[in-house]
């Protein structure tokens, strides 16, 4: 939205109740509520109703971990950049943390004896420092060397994971992992209040930075129109440095907590693909990938929304839910973002299904709905082809109806 100088919904003054209810955050809260209700209804055991405790804990645990580095992704996206390296920064900072633990207290780690507090502190600080350095490297590659953010962070996405693997092999006698069995360290993630407190503190800090300080407004301005911001005297290079450092340091925080939660550093798999989850959370939360628009609380709600959907899928489908998880999350993300974008752009009267492309879209969506339901209901007595045929036909009829309605409305205008 380079042409739209309006700052984010987070700083937009609320004008009356209608304006308030139009905010992305409110829509997300509503969407989360709907997903929860649907899950309660469709889960044959109704676990959310009868015994919500373990599920709530699980969703909160996953949400705060994802939320922490999604906040970083949001800051970079608002500033008009992109950070693809989050997953690898998680792996790298986790590796640094585990390496320091192993070097400073080898016996304690190997024999699972109590870890001294100072060792844990140094290891965590080391991991955070590595995050700061990676963020600075990104900023240098982008502002001084002149690489596009996509390329700079793609390079570290690939490179840091490789470096982490080499480091682990060197530190731990050619092994592919460093186990950290110590209870004190694992408490960082297992005492659930710690990650929650860390996440909320970071949320408050980032929210204050973005919506209550001049620096924050400059970051929105930078993302909205970099040239205009520079010409107005905004120090764009230093702001980019800040944005990429916030992102990398938050990924490092998440890295420490992830290692604590799985009790092992395995760089080959740790945090793999998480950068996309972070970007998805930010985008679902109302950030525009063109920069200049985005909400910090919205991003955390976006993370919560994603986790609620994933947990709901696991509760409803029960057997091998993860096979369908990606598919359903993909659909939900596309719908949610399309929804937000349309509202932001005020394109209520858009025609979705006109012309040749519209027809192709009807075919696509009908086939997709048919295949999806036929797969999901494969155990039903109706048979796959019957379900596929009837669902696809039903959706095709519905969408064709929408096509005609759109056409008529267009003519009336």
């Amino acid at each position: 939205m380079a042409s739209d100088p309006t700052p984010a919904p987070a700083v937009r003054p609320a004008l009356g109740i209608a304006r308030f209810f139009q905010r992305t955050e409110w829509g997300l809260v509503l969407a989360i509520g709907v997903v929860l209700l649907v899950t309660v209804g469709l889960d044959t055991d109704h676990v959310y109703w009868h015994n919500p405790g373990p599920s709530v804990k699980d969703i909160v645990r996953q949400t705060v971990l994802l939320g922490i580095f999604a906040l970083g992704a949001a800051v970079v996206i608002i500033a008009g950049g992109i950070d693809l390296s989050a997953g690898s920064v998680i792996a790298f900072s986790g590796t640094i943390c585990a390496t320091l633990l192993l070097w400073l207290a080898p016996d304690a780690v190997r024999l699972n004896q109590p870890l001294p507090l100072w060792v844990m502190t140094v290891a965590c600080l080391g991991a955070l420092l590595s995050g700061f350095l990676i963020g600075s490297l990104h900023a240098w590659l982008i502002t001084v060397v002149g690489l596009p953010p996509f390329v700079a962070t793609l390079a570290t996405l690939v490179g840091l994971r490789s470096l982490s693997r080499a480091l682990v092999a060197y530190v731990n006698q050619n092994s592919t992992q460093i186990p950290i069995p110590n209870r004190e360290f694992r408490a960082l993630a297992n005492e659930l209040w710690i990650p929650i407190a860390v996440c909320l503190a970071l949320l408050a800090a980032v929210w204050l930075l973005m919506s209550r300080t001049v620096v924050g407004r400059h970051l929105y301005a930078l993302g909205g129109n970099e040239n205009a911001a520079r010409l107005s005297g905004v120090p764009t290079d230093r702001l980019k440095w800040l944005a990429y450092c916030v992102s990398a340091v938050l990924s490092s925080v998440a890295g420490i907590l992830y290692v604590a939660s799985v009790a092992v550093v395995e760089p080959e798999t740790l945090g793999k693909g998480y950068e996309l989850n972070a970007i998805a959370a930010a985008v679902v939360g109302g950030c525009s990938l063109q920069g200049g628009i985005g909400s910090i609380p919205g991003t955390l709600l976006g993370a919560l929304f994603l986790r609620v959907v994933m947990d709901g899928v696991a509760k409803i489908i029960k057997s091998s839910a993860d096979v369908y998880e990606g598919l359903i999350v993909g659909v939900v993300v596309a719908v949610a973002v399309a929804f937000t974008q349309l509202r932001q752009a005020g394109r209520g009267g858009v025609r979705f299904f006109s012309g040749g492309l519209g027809l192709a879209a009807i075919v696509n969506l009908s086939l997709f709905a048919g295949v999806l339901l036929a797969l999901l209901l494969r155990e039903s007595e109706l048979g796959g082809w019957t379900i596929f045929g009837s669902v696809a036909a039903l959706v095709a009829v519905l969408l064709t109806g929408v096509r005609f309605a759109e056409g008529r409305r267009h003519k009336q205008k």
């Binding site: 469709l42 044959t44 804990k57 699980d58 009790a263």
Partner: protein
Amino acid sequence: MRRFLWSFALLTAVALAAGLAGCSGGGSAKVAAGKRIVILTNGNSPFWDACRKGVSEAEKDLKLADAGLKAELDVNDGTPKGQIDKLRQYASRADVVAVGVSALDASNAEVADRMRELQAKGIKVITVDSDVDRDQMRDTRFAFVGTDNLAGGKELGKCAKGLRPDGGKYVTFVGRLGAQNAKERINGFAEGAGSKFQSLDSMGDNIDLIKARENVRNAITNHQAKGLNVLVGIWSYNAPAIVDVVKEKNVRDKFTVVTFDAEPGAIDEMGQGQIDAMVVQNPFKMGYDGVKLLKALVEDDKDTVKKMLPEHGKPNGDVYDTGLKVVVPDADTPLKADMFDAKTEVLKLGAFREWLKKYGLTGS
């Protein structure tokens, strides 16, 4: 306000549509209703297809549906976090009553804690295929159903010894060097092969099939001059990788090829004389007997438990061995049954194929 109402209406419509879809889904769910016995894998490979067959065979044979039970195989993504997340998910669900875990990492403290948590909730837990650390974490499961990988490695080592009585130099190929079963098989191989054999390298490929082939090429290029003459496949897909490269370089006569597991491709290759011996586990039996034991535990059927684990409570009495097979080509081979452990079954390829056919398997 109108736009808000519009969005709300759309959301409700989406929710209703989802609800409708779910109601029709409810019908199928009712058919499948019941408590679940879940076998959780460590990762994904054809090995688990045979296990899945065992699970569904047990479901039918043991009439799980009559007991209000259902058995299934849940495939992990090969990461520790994936396994931990799935165990947490079971703990938060109401329908899971028993879990058989193939521990991705024998000594992961978090996996162990999650298994303890499941037990504390009254869910029955055993390990299948890959056990937890038996010194530190025995309490996390009731029993282990699977193969002793160290013993399997030894049998493979004995194959190499039998095929090359004068000894040799070998390289082992594996997915992940850090995996417990990899370590045990590699150590077992060295032990079984004896002092006349020397290891030149162990190469990991991180379950990348392209890299697995590259590793074999590099091993042959780098070590042939040093006397490399035995190629050892440690994970199932390493066998076809070795054979492909050996064929490509046309060096079959220079190498002895011994491998673990029997992927469908590897079985064909042995038929064409490309593999000298395979040590095969019985994932079908792991699935079948895993479900059998878990069902007995859920129903508190002490007789069946006693029959399967007569020594339970005594040292190593909680290990249920699903047995090993050594498969050799139909043509003449120096490998004879008396070279191996008495419990190991030595089969010609033809007989092994018959066995697979009997259970509708394509590999093991």
